[in-house]
Homo-oligomer: 253 residues x 2
Amino acid sequence: MSPYDPSAFPPFAVTVDLVVLTVRRHALCALAVRRGESPFQGRWALPGGFVRVDEDLSAAAARELVEETGLCAHDPESPVQVNGAHLEQLATYGDPKRDPRMRVVSVAHLALAPDLPAPRAGGDANSARWAPVDALLTQGGYGREGEQVAPLAFDHAQILADGVERARSKIEYSSLATAFCPPEFTVGELRRVYEAVWGVALDPRNFHRKVTGTPGFLVPTGGTTTRQGGRPAQLFRAGGATLLNPPMLRPDV
Amino acid sequence: MSPYDPSAFPPFAVTVDLVVLTVRRHALCALAVRRGESPFQGRWALPGGFVRVDEDLSAAAARELVEETGLCAHDPESPVQVNGAHLEQLATYGDPKRDPRMRVVSVAHLALAPDLPAPRAGGDANSARWAPVDALLTQGGYGREGEQVAPLAFDHAQILADGVERARSKIEYSSLATAFCPPEFTVGELRRVYEAVWGVALDPRNFHRKVTGTPGFLVPTGGTTTRQGGRPAQLFRAGGATLLNPPMLRPDV
DNA sequence: GTGTTTATCGTCAGGAAGACGACTATGATC
DNA sequence: GATCATAGTCGTCTTCCTGACGATAAACAC
């Protein structure tokens, strides 16, 4: 492979696809966009697009995230959440037949965001939405209004499943669950994140003892809130720790 | 992006690079090949090569692994192979400037292998070797004969570091450490794998209690061996479990 | 006030893990 | 053959973590 001759290697298209997760109404939800073109026209898919010539992979993912979620300073109320959204590379999918048109290698990324306002997508309000991952992953699942939903386009069901699995396991040993929360949050709100992502019920007392006892996980802000009803709860920010020691333990497994 | 026009997206070259790890003489070692061409001519690099037109990413990685080491990648579907090795996707590296010649996106893979005979590489015995990862990762480290070694080519130091970190963390909660062992091994041999990968000393008694008590991790074969000297040790095979519960705990951290 | 909801503290039993003593079974050395 | 070095295996003890769960606290709705 000495001198670089464009005919000496096969040309690929490289894209980024995004698994954007959030917790809405006690359910883990993913961002889905409706395809306007063939193939899979009309089907739901993960947001994504081509990587540009002089663009790093992570930059392409960040750009797509901004384009699809519209969080780029358009929401003056929550700019901090936007900047705090977590983004990481997930995996790369390159089956030769994953796109019927051509050879496309897609570098999937995982984004975790707090509950956001309804998504926007190119001005077409109907073309993007949050959907519970359970519905998206169930072959022939049911959508928000109970209608039948076709499986995701391409291999996006696999990508979504991998992203969900990554999130489920990573909140065990990292402080990533705070990425689902607003900048200030209560222990109860954090617990509901774990419950939604894992799909289990956790004991509030043991959970409280655990998270407040893990060094570097939570930092009290001094404020309190009653937005959840009941007795006022302390507000916390995410501490500096990224790795939790000891880790949170998922029941069963 | 309706009709697929080759000029509508930038063409990329896609390669696979391999982080092949093994444990030799109580040290974690990686496979390195010497570059014969510019750029980075004469420098050490990770093995790798172009993905072919109709080849899946994992197939390309497995092919490169065979070409460089003669190893067969272990297929979870098929029975354990004598020359089996663990192979998994690691991460994808696509900085626009990572290769000075052109835009190359590299899908790095991680392979774990038992201690192998000296590597072969295209018949040139001097062009491939096992090197301790510490030496490869230390900028201006020292090689086997104590000579100064230049840093790895391209961004391969970063890729290697990521691969080592993946291996270090993954043997905590999975049975992956057995991939460094021959098909039958003793508890002591497995312990020396953990010690080499983590770079710590472990208590033989607690380690023995732990691994023999973790369900599905080890299956006694009934045989014994004295190849390590001392009292004969029981031989084990890897059990079916891939996820360890409870996990092995890395000291400190 | 009473009831409901959520937050927070405390207690207790069971289990896991680190530290470490003791014993066993080989080969090597004298 | 006795002794020693080496490695493997079994136990014990203490400490800490965790799950189960009782009890109290502070808000709101009626």
